[in-house]
Structures are given as C-alpha cells and as structure tokens.
Symmetry: none
Subunit: 541 residues, 2 copies
C-alpha cells in the first residue's frame, strides 16, 4: 500500500523563539538545527534574516542540512514593488532555498493593522510570492489569522490563499495565529479550502495552543486533507506555544489511522531518539523538562496507581498505549523495583560492570539513586557520577586522591587607575598516596582578560597538581556547565552538571548538589577527575 | 434560548493524586476541595476511602461543600456479594452522597488482570451499582479502558455500560484509561454508545493526555452528546495527566459553539478567579506554574513578536482570542530584541514613563537592549533591569548608592572534630550620599545550618546596611534564582536572573551577566535594590 507523504515544517528557531524567556544564540540555533535535521523534518525555518543581529549572524553561518533551510519574512509593503522592498530583500539575501512569508488574510487586520485596501493586500501577496519564485526560491505563504478571517469574510480569505497559490506558492499554510479556533472548526474550514480549489498536498496547518488544542487542531486539518504540518520542538512558541512536533511525530508514526495512511521523513531509528532530542532542547534552554509531556516526559510511562503497576508487570499493554522504547523513553514502576533492576543491570553492563540478578548491591544502588534524586541529584545525563555511585555500593570505587580543603575568593574593586576589576583566586589541598600538596590559581586582572569566576579558579587549581596522576588528566577539558536551582528534600539546592571531554574522544558528565553553588560544582569536578582516572587506569576494575 | 447543562466532575484529589511526585495531605485536600467548590464544579471526588491512611483521614474531616462529595472505589470482587465486599464497604463507610466505582469493560483486562469470566464481570458491575443505589447513594460507573474495549469487542463493552446503567447508575463514564484514543475515535465511539441506548445526559467522559489530546477528546465526546466532564485542576493525573479543567472550563464558557449551547455551575465571577485557583494548586504542590498554560499561564497573553505587539496596542483582539481579564490573567508586552518602538512605548507607559513617538531616546533604548541581549542579557522576564536600563538612556536613572568593592570567600575544610564543613563569607563596601560603609556576613558552620554559598553571603552583606535607604529594603525577599551559561559575544558568559518580592505584594526580576557567576549575581542584586528604592521613593520621577 502506498502511504501519503506528510511534510514536517519546524519553526522552533522562528516561532519557537517567540516564547517568553527564550533567546537563542546563533550557536544554539546551529545545535538545534542539526538535531532537527537528524530527526528528519523536511523544513527548518531558521528565523527572520535582517530582523535582529542574532538571526542575521545565524543565517551567515548556518549549518548544511538535508532539510530545506527556510528564511521567514513578510509580504512586501504597499506602494513599492517586491524587488524594492528592503525587508523582503534582507530575507532573500540570506540565500536560503526556501522562503516563507506571512501575509494578512483577515479583512479586519488588513484594515486595522496595515491600513491598506483589501485589493492592495491581494497584490502584496501575489507579487511577493511571484518575486520569490522569480528569484528561484521555493515559496511558502503563511496565511495569518486565516481561520478568524474565514469566519469573518470567507470570500476574501479564500481570495488571499488563491493569490498566493496562483503566484506559485509551493505551500499555502493555514495559520490559527491567535490560537482560538477549535479542532472541529479547523477540520471543517480546511475541508472548505480544499473544495475551493487549493489541493491538500499544497496545504499546510499552523496552530497555537491557546485552548490546549494545538495538536488536535493539527490532526483535524490532516484528517480534512492538509499535508504539511508546522510545529516546534517541545511546543515552544508565542504565548501558549505552537503545535508540539515532539507529540505529533510519534502520533503520526505509531497511532492509527495515521501510521498506515501516512509516511514522513522521520525514520524509526530517529523516533527512538525523540526523548533525547526533547531533553536536549530543555538543556539548551536550561528548562526543567516537563515530567508529564506526552511520549517523552519522565512520567509518561510512570505507573503509580497500585492496580496499574501490578497489571503492568503481567503485561505492559494493559496500561500503555505504545511501548516507551519506541520513543526512547523508559517505563517507571515506583511500586516495584523489578523493572528497575533489569534497567540497572543493563546500565552497569554498559559500563563494563557485571552484576548477578538478585545481588543485594543492586537494591542498594537503586535505593541510593532514589535517595540522592530526592536530595536534588539527577543522573539522566550525569552517567559518570552514576557510575561512581554504583561503584561505591559495589565496593569497586576508585581511591586516587582526597581533597583536604579548598578556598576560593572572588573580588570586585577599583584598581590603582580607578578601573573596576573583578578577580578570582583559589587554593586547593589534595592528598594522594605519596603525600599532600597545595595548588594555587589566581586570575590576575589584565587588559582584555575576563575573570571566569570562582568555579574556573577552583578547576584550574585542582587540576594543576595531582601528583602521580597529573599526566593522566592533562588532556581534560570542561566543555559545558549547567546550573539549576531545584528542590533537595525541603530546601532549595543548586544542582550543577558539568560536561567534560578529553583528547581520546571521550565525553562525560558529572553532577554535584549543594546549597552552595561553588561546592556543588566542586563535587562535579572531583567526580570528573575520578572517572577520567578510572578510564585511563586499566588496573582498576 | 435554553442552554444544555453540562456536569463538571473534578478528580484532582483522586486521579490527580496519581501524578508522579504528588502526595496531598488531608489538610491540602481540604484546601483544594474548598477552591473547587468556590469555582463551581458539580462533583468533587475526594479519594479512595480505606485505600490509604491519608484518604481515610480526609473523608473523616471533609469540608461541607455545595458540590456533591464523591468517594471512589471499585466493583466488588467475584465470589462474594456486594454487601460482603469489605473494600466496597470501606468506600460506603465514608458516607458520601455519591460513590463512583471503576470496573472493567475491556474483555482482555477481565481475562488478564482479573482472571474471571466475562459474565462474572457483568454481575460484579450490576450488583455493585445496585448495592450503592440500595444504600441511597448516587452511583457513578467509571468504565475503565472503555474505548480500547469497544475497539476490541464492542458488544461486550456496551453490555458492561448497560449493566451499570440498568442497575441505576446516574452517570456512566467512558474512560480512556491508557490515554491512547484520538479525539476523532472518541467522538465516533461516544455517538455509537448513545445510539446503543445510553442517553447523553447519563454519559460522562474521562480522558488522559498521553497523545496531548485530553482536552480535545473531551470536547469530541461533548460534541457527540456526552454531558459529564471528568478532569483535574492543571491537568494533574497518572502519567501525562487527566483532561485539564482549567483549560476546559473557559473553553466551554467563552468559546463558540459551546458558550451559547451549554451552561455549567461555574459563574462568570468564579471564572475570573481561574488564574488564581490554578496558581494556588501549584503553590500547594510547590511547583513552578507552567508559563505556557492555556488561559492561565503567565505567558498566555504575552506578545513578544514586534508585529504582534504593535497591533495589540491598536486593538487587543488582533492577537488575543479572549480577553485575559475574563480568566483573571493579564496581558504582557515583554521587551526583547524582537520588539519595536510601540512595544517599548507601551512598556514605558506601564512603568509610568511617558515618551513621545520619535524621541531619540527610544532608538537608544532599543539599541542598548539589542546590544546587551547580544552580550547575553535577557530582558523579557527581567522587567526591573529593563526599566533601569531605559531610565539610564532617558537620564532618569536612580543614584541611591554605589558599590566600591566586594569580596566573597567560599571554603571547604575539616573542622577540629575532623568533619567536613563548608562556609561562605562576604564583605561589601557601599557609598551613599552620607558616606561610605562596609558590611560583613559570614555563614558560620553549625549543626543543621547549611551554607547557602557565595551569592547568599553577598546578598546578606549587601542588604545589611544601606545607610539612609536601609528601612526601605528590609522587606525584600529573594524568591528564585536562575543561572544559565550562554553566549556573550564570542565568549561563554553566565546569566543570572533573580526574582524578588516584598511585603507590599510586589514581585520583580532582574538580570546580571558576567563570565564570573558571582559578579553576574551581584549585578542582579544591585539592580533589584535600585528598583525597589525607586518604587518606594515617590520623589524620584
């Protein structure tokens, strides 16, 4: 049976950036674009070139992608030609293969927001799209406020779509800009659009979650015949967010009637990385992942009710609509550590530690993880700290060095020339099998040298002299540093997760928790060195 | 025109308690029950009396409510009469006017989970419901796994509903227990149930959010004729949660076709308290409210895109599907480098600063925001820092005090008894109009005293003596602290956003950026004090 191809258009980097509190750097945009490409979306909308310095910088250095890279802009203004509109020119200058421009389709907005005639707006749409096509670009038209416009003046709203379609738009996208249209209306109006002569395979849907129906509205449009879906990772977006692709993709790939009717560019293998992709975005944004998120949330397959948990042990399909592995997630059964033990043995085996089923150390490790997660630790990404914890319970923990004390100072003052300077210094005393040694680091203020703060000072001091182990840690690099205030028991504590790499291609992460951010970071630094020494030291099992 | 009455059944205290990490005390249940009653729901399901000590305690002391108080339980087991089933007896002993019992309707579960015959299960349903009715209770039947059951064996699934309905159940509730049924299926199957002879005004709907469609599935059932809605506050519930009543209620009351077709027990005045009710639950659970929550989220009416913000100023209906006041929420026009002049003027006007369109200071402020966002600052939540930045460009910035220097130390060492202790201390010198003063804070280590780290030490020292301003900052509290590593130009920098509150009900946030986390935090602390002094000082314009 031939399946119908659905096109996935991601706007995390454009509409997603409209989320309150979200401000991607160009580097972060590159990282997200690569993840979207690996997932298998068809279009990546990168932003609005020319609208702000970050977007302009990103388009200059954008990564190569299999997905069609798309720049966003708006229809030309009235009273000038498309070729002479400098905003549109700025968008075209980004040299993307596709360009998506937004235009009005609701007569009220043409009047109130633009203050031009309905006829002028139609001309702006058709001439802008024609200009994109003449410039050799694939053109997409975001029909702003389409559903509200259709309800107010269906003839005019449809005329706007026709203007874009006839001028050569590859996709005409029905946007529920204000997010207030309910799924049943979206389905009915999308069907009318197709009846009016715009084929479904040229029709896209763009919804917002203002009534909690963004996903359902998208599905209703697909049911009616629309074949492009616009959405964002984790449902980022203006106000309540856009349709969540992380929810829609597994629904389309795994659930009937979609799974046997449609196909997308997302391969099954990429679907298995969905949970990781979703959490990666939260990491970049330093957001706490939503535990209850469909498919990818930490609680999405957590069975707390006693009746559910006991049935799950007999047969997981009793209380699961899909298998968690299909989206790279895992089942949690808080009442029974059966599932926990096999999970744990797998993780230990991945680290080269073999444990027998029923080994009492397994329960001790699970208890310790549970206790420490209550205290604020998180081991999902900090695998190296998890390995050290497991080794302690199994009595195969390393014992390379001990920290006797540290002291770190940060200071802001005026120097002799009256300039404000910020400086940090640290002193660390460690003992190894051949004695105790003290190291010192000071970030001396000088022209153009920034002070990297107390954690950096501590790291520089700690790694400068580990005696017999020194040669093995010389190639360690700190690659990322994440800080989150979280709940540890009844108190707020700071959780620090640090990523490291070395010259042998290893990458690892550790976690530390304390009310004192410096002490939390220090715990993660010490874990990282221990893990590195363990890996380099073949004599330690 | 007579509107059709919809019944609202809240299960926050029962299914909502199945949320991972949620464990209500009896007192918290009372507080939530009162809020639900004030909102105007028809039924409050309080829990499962006899299943755990908390639920039993709560039913003994439950508050008086206008809503029908409901106890939850399950159908009697096979091989005994309903009167002799001690689990059912435990539920009846709670003496609630209504009792809702869950029973199987999916043949696979009758076999796999219960291990009884299909006929025995039908008997368990009808005898249990008949027993509740004989005891003078209003009986509700939660048809577990109904949609999956209907798809597997429609005849049997419908027979289960009939068994409950004929035995006297006031409501037969179609439960999508695993959350995997899509809205179109829910609508179609609900219509079949009504065709089979169970009237819509005896039919309820209970959905879960495993595909992000719990709200849409509920609306689909209502469209098909179901007249009772089961859900929870903020969508709490097993796995991904239940249908969110906080989203459904305003949709039913404010949006067409629902608003003119149906009525509920929720008065317009109670709808205006919806945002507060939602946040109250988060407060009880010590959760950070979801900014993007439909209707009640802090971002639900935040207009970040420049094009949106300029239209909103002309007419809020251009980008809002309902008025925020209708649900007790407020409009926000945040500042960011996406914003234009009209956005900025609105923002300034909210702060009591009037600027003329075309004032060159407006461009300077926008440029400064853009530059500082490139450096790593973020102003859309840190409104207080934005105000100070704008005031500097407008030359109406405060000049209350200046920091001459600070120095902060964190130390980990062994004390005289060989215990590891972590301590922080800070010294800050500030100058005010009447001279210079130095303050000191040390977090002395003692039993059960945690060291809160260098930022806390700095804050304690800074706020301990501001000379002539001291009395005005005594009521400042630091309520949240967020840290992220971001790109500032070409270097990684640390951005710290700190939330504050005072005893006059004000809440404000500030931002600081530096490669040194302590210095970034310090900048935010200084901004926060300046903003607070500005608000308390009527003489400063």
């Amino acid at each position: 049976m031939t399946r119908i191809r659905l096109s996935l258009f991601d706007t995390t980097l454009r509409d997603g950036q409209q989320t309150q509190g979200v401000q991607f750097s160009a580097d972060e945009k590159t990282q997200i674009a690569k993840a979207l490409d690996a997932l298998g979306v068809d279009y990546i909308e990168g932003g609005w070139p020319g609208a702000n310095p970050t977007d302009s910088a990103f388009f200059e250095t954008r990564p190569q992608t299999r997905a069609t890279f798309t720049a966003f802009g708006m229809t030309k203004r009235a009273g000038r030609s498309a070729a002479n509109d400098e905003v549109l020119a700025g968008v075209l200058n980004a040299n993307t293969p596709a360009v998506c421009i937004v235009g009005k389709t609701h007569d009220f907005h043409v009047d109130t927001a633009l203050g031009i005639t309905l006829e002028e707006n139609l001309t702006n749409i058709s001439e802008s799209i024609a200009h994109l096509v003449a410039e050799g670009r694939e053109a997409l038209f975001d029909a702003e406020h389409f559903f509200d416009g259709y309800k107010a003046n269906p003839t005019y709203a449809l005329a706007c779509l026709q203007a874009a379609y006839k001028a050569g738009a590859r996709w005409v996208v029905l946007c529920d800009t204000n997010g207030g249209t309910l799924p049943s209306e979206i389905g009915a109006i999308t069907a009318r659009v197709i009846e009016s002569g715009i084929p479904g395979d040229h029709l896209g849907i763009h919804t917002h979650d203002d009534t909690g129906n963004a996903v359902a509205g998208t599905l209703a449009a697909v049911d009616a015949g629309a074949r492009q879906i616009q959405g964002t990772l984790n449902g980022l977006g203006e106000r309540c967010g856009n349709a969540n692709l992380v929810t829609l993709v597994p629904t389309l790939l795994l659930k009937e009637p979609y799974a046997s009717t449609f196909e997308t560019g997302v391969p099954e293998t990429a679907l298995k990385t969905l949970t990781r992709t979703s959490r990666m975005l939260d990491d970049i944004l330093n957001r706490v992942p939503q535990r209850a998120a469909p498919y990818v949330g930490a609680s999405a397959f957590a069975h707390k009710a006693g009746l559910h948990a006991s049935a799950i042990v007999k047969d997981p399909t009793t209380y699961e609509h899909i298998a968690p592995e299909a989206v790279g997630n895992t089942r949690i059964v808080p009442m029974s550590n059966q599932a926990g033990q096999s999970n744990l043995m797998q993780r230990l085996s991945d680290m080269g530690i073999e444990a027998e089923k029923g080994d009492p150390a397994l329960s001790r490790i699970l208890d310790a993880v549970k206790q420490r997660e209550t205290d604020g630790y998180a081991y999902d990404s900090a695998q190296a700290s998890f390995e050290l914890l497991a080794r302690r319970e199994l009595d195969v923990a390393p014992d390379y060095f001990e920290v006797e004390r540290y002291r770190v100072i940060s200071e802001r003052r005026r120097n002799a020339r009256g300039e404000i300077v910020v400086e940090s210094e640290a002193v660390v005393t460690v003992s190894t099998r051949d004695g105790s040694r003290t190291s010192f680091f000071k970030n001396e203020h000088a022209q153009d040298i920034q002070d990297d703060g107390p954690v950096n000072a501590l790291w520089q001091a700690l790694k400068s002299d580990l005696g017999p182990h020194q040669s093995k840690i010389e190639d360690m690099r700190l690659t990322d540093f994440r800080v989150r205030i979280t709940q540890g028991g009844t108190e707020a504590v700071t959780r620090v997760i640090i990523d490291f790499a070395d010259n042998q291609g290893r990458a690892w992460a550790t976690v530390g928790v304390s009310a004192n951010i410096v002490d939390a970071a220090f715990e993660a630094l010490v874990d990282a060195i221990n893990w590195k020494l363990l890996r380099d030291d073949a004599t330690v099992k």
